[in-house]
Symmetry: C2
Subunit: 587 residues, 2 copies
């Protein structure tokens, strides 16, 4: 049994994750969050909100999960969001074509369809479903968006969004106005996104429906320094730059090319393109560690030039090392330049540029044409207006020759030289119009949850017996405190229930458990990551004190019931030993 | 301009609500929550979580928005979740057929398709789109679920869920185990649900994609009293019982039939079916008032017998009175009996019954058959096992006659009387197996948000000028505190920014605003419902005091900066005057 199996086994048994639709046999690519899983997910999302919405000031918005075709034509998803597919002509099963030649070439996902087809034929690949050989047809391109129809009839095609990002780009004009027409500003969204996988294989790592947390930060293209850079420049991250990677698509290998650098160094040595991106690598790192990712099993891998979207300047993935799947991408942080807004401007025929004001207005020389309207009017009659407009659009070069030529309704019309005078004027320009660039940190919440479970999971031998523990940070643990009477006796149960209720009223999420031996109940709570247990025993009845037990160290301290809520809240924030020491100093 | 128009106008201008996909012309039935709208939505959902997840102890789960066909076959949605539709043969536009005969009959939505068709023809209804007459074909039934395909090929049909409820029913076995196999228990889900309207007309009231918050509470069918009933029995609600309603589907009229009763009276007089349902009417009421619904514009309307699902025992809608749409349903609270679980048990062929243990085991008489295997074995050879099983299944009556008949593989086989003896034995029975009943409060979050906006909206004449105010409860207002320097001068801006930052660190959601006159800024904040404004003026520079202004009363109090965070937090919880009085008593 590998780690994945152990964790998924625990997750199913204890109410973190269940296969969706299991009552009806289930379907690959869908998972339910059970009571503990949903609580863990919510706590992780709330920390993300604290960091991105509250602290960074990127307001959250909420746009539909269904989008209309026009959006995804502009974003490129209707054309480009696809995987190569083959169908077995014998059993009719569909497969990711590149998966069939894994092991034959190093980077099957980088090959064109024809090459994949050639390799399948050349190696006589068998159908993994029915075992037939030579049964695969051509490699086709399968679009990964779930398709539907909005309203009756077939007119209006809708897609389930492949990313939350597009909803924010489409709202750019509204958002710019909301932020009083000033750059930079950021906006966030946490919500469902969809990817209709051909045949998903990696359990919770490869879902057809998943949750993204994305921030789109719209910045002035000429200002990619970050105002708060000095606050994080000393933070050391584990960088895995493109130039250190052995093969062009390094799958999940780490060939010793990870380097540890301060963020300042990473920017100064041009490993990360600019401060703004580097700042968001650090923010990502801080978030991931805070929710339970082991920094030693984490790296920032830079995209190879041929792997990066053609428009991107620089792109990094936060990857985590997992037992079964190797290095897995959980966050992408990219400088997407003006690609998204330009593309939507082009498709919607709206001007999405913004005015960047100069600090002081600039004086700019300009040619001003002064046509002799007293002559032009009578001469060109109905066309006089068009002639005037065309003349005003001419540059200095057009005006220099002996004859001036303009174009009216597709025809070249010569204008006598002496009808047009021009002069050079000085004009004040307040600023220039630019399409903002976009910095995008994009988080895959479900993978982060799995990684937090795996990285916090451990099997520990205690007095010859294996103890399974989730060392989740207290801030994300689904149950924060377990309240346990030492024995299942009424005289202990009654005060235990009262203590549980008081803690709930004080905002601590408590579970009460009185079934089985106290040892068993500690183990049950260790397994789901409950950081603290409060035990009520016979001494409690005499002196109103209880025991707090620490999940990680199994250490215990005794304290009066009256100090319990405050101490536990301090422990959730600062950890057991810190709060215990402080408590002992005070009391 | 009616109220709806005013509120939607404000909502669009200030970043509460935007038409989705507006950049590409928009599509009816979809709205975006802008920064302030999403914040309001989140606060309302968080209060729901506090009341249902934390206080009631109904754990939240999260299941996919895409479901497989088997689920909706069992729930009845593939057959029954539809609206009558006609298509104009001239312009090809589709319409809700019953909408075309509104005004002709009182309850068009209750008519069968043939009757709607007859009325359309008889009254020569014109196509509202192209004006053509006699162009409508037959009335068909349009299923309102968005349909899609999971994976490649057309094999696996998927639907976007029409309600979050089914995901919880399907997980019943897992949930029952999670709750240690004891009733009652509750589970909740907040998430997207979908309804592919034929042609939605009512703006934010009738969305194709919306958010539901639902609780499914699984109870013992014989225990419909509620353990906490005594805590709420004196609460007075506005009931609108079925027997008080004039027409069978009262659309949005209130014919004076609303009665105000304590919950105890409502149950005692059999107006509400039982305590458990009544408890949840009260909880719904408390929630709605807490998020900003005006109790005077709210009622609980009981479903008419012919309006209620055939399986339901009793069903109530919380309705709110709106300016444009009249009475609008925003919550449904139903006793769904065992319908959902029985239906899923039948379709999945799984036993979803649970053992309800008796307080003390019962002694039950049972017939025990004792066949003479020494003879049956050699006599029936290979069939002996089947014969034995069949004999053991016989009742006393089958065993009384001279000859005993059993059925083996569809054939009647006589068994000689003397080969079978039987006796009456006393057995201990621990309990009985039942299918739990379900109580379901189901909240339409988007409509609640709109109702909270409309009910808290007012236009007030102050010194001859209209002041637009959202009197939202402080707990749900998107921005809790505005920090405003009296004038846009550096010496006031610097301390203002510092105060804003300190408040943020203290967990208060603050906006900072320094553009325009102070009066304009107060108005801007009144319009979005910001309950408190903090003003920094020249006295602040001398004595470190600031002014807090109350949105509702426009009263102001002065206080030291050091007491600001605590006072504001108290005001958000208890209101301005309460906290102001307390502050003045302390300091």
């Amino acid at each position: 049994m590998d780690k994945y199996e152990k964790i998924i086994g625990m997750a199913k048994r204890r109410g973190f994750l269940w296969n969706s639709f299991e009552l009806y046999g289930g379907t690959a690519g869908f998972y339910d969050y059970g009571p503990l899983g949903a609580m863990l997910k919510r706590r992780i999302e709330d920390i993300w909100r604290k960091m991105y919405v509250i602290e960074e000031g990127f307001y959250e918005i909420e746009t539909p999960t269904i989008g209309i075709a026009a959006i995804f034509d502009a974003s490129g998803h209707t054309r480009g969001f696809s995987d190569p597919m083959v169908v077995c002509s014998k059993c009719d099963h569909s497969f990711r074509a590149d998966h069939l030649i894994e092991g034959i070439v190093e980077t099957p996902d980088a090959l064109p369809a024809s090459e994949i087809k050639r390799l399948i034929d050349e190696h006589g690949i068998k159908c993994p479903q029915c075992g037939g050989t030579g049964t695969f047809g051509d490699v086709s391109s399968f679009n990964l968006m779930f398709k539907t129809t909005i309203g009756p009839g077939a007119e209006r095609v809708g897609y389930l969004r492949p990313e939350t990002a597009q909803g924010m780009f489409v709202d750019f004009e509204h958002l710019f106005r909301f932020y009083r027409e000033k750059l930079p500003f950021g906006v966030t969204q946490i919500g469902k996104a969809y990817r209709n996988e051909i045949s998903p294989r990696q359990g919770v790592i490869r879902l057809r429906e998943f949750t993204q947390a994305e921030a789109e930060i719209f910045i002035n293209p000429t200002e990619k320094n970050h105002p708060k850079f000095s606050m994080i420049e000393d933070t050391v991250l584990r960088y895995y730059p493109a130039s250190h990677q052995r093969v062009s698509h390094p799958a999940h290998e780490d060939d010793g090319g990870i380097i540890e650098l301060t963020t300042r160094d990473a920017v100064d040595r041009a490993i990360v393109a600019h401060e703004f991106l580097a700042y968001h690598l650090v923010l990502t790192h801080l978030f991931l560690v805070r929710v339970g990712i082991d920094p030693a099993r984490m790296r920032f891998r830079q995209h190879q030039p041929d792997e990066m979207a053609h428009y991107a300047v620089d792109c990094w993935d936060a990857e985590v090392l997992t037992d079964r799947f190797g290095w897995v991408e959980i966050v992408g942080i990219a400088d997407r330049t003006d690609y998204d807004l330009s593309s939507h401007a082009e498709h919607s025929k709206k001007d999405l540029s913004v005015l960047i004001e100069y600090d002081t207005p600039k004086q700019v020389e300009r040619i001003a044409v002064k046509p002799d309207m007293g002559v032009i009017g009578p001469l060109y009659k109905g066309n006089a207006g068009k002639v005037l407009a065309a003349l005003k659009g001419l540059g200095e070069e057009d005006l220099r020759g002996d004859e001036i030529k303009i174009e009216i309704d597709g025809e070249i019309v010569p204008i006598p030289r002496d009808l047009v005078e021009y002069e050079t004027v000085i004009e004040e320009v307040r600023g220039e119009r630019v399409i903002p660039h976009v910095i995008e940190p994009s988080f895959g919440i479900d993978r982060i949850i799995y990684a937090a479970l795996e990285h916090s999971f451990s099997e520990e031998l205690v007095a010859g017996v294996t103890r399974n523990v989730l060392h989740l940070p207290a801030e994300v643990a689904p149950v924060q405190v377990a309240v346990l009477p030492l024995l299942t006796r009424d005289e202990l149960i009654t005060p235990s229930l009262a203590i549980a209720e008081t803690l709930r009223e004080n905002g601590v999420f408590v579970s009460y458990d009185d079934s089985g031996t106290i040892g068993r109940r500690y183990r049950r709570n260790d397994e789901i990551g409950t950081p603290f247990s409060v035990t009520i025993d016979y001494d409690t009845l005499g002196d109103d004190t209880v025991t707090i037990r620490d999940r990680d160290s199994m250490a215990q301290i005794r304290m009066p019931i009256g100090e319990l809520a405050e101490t536990l809240r301090a422990m959730i924030r600062h950890g057991f030993s810190d709060a215990a020491t402080r408590h002992n100093q005070i009391f």
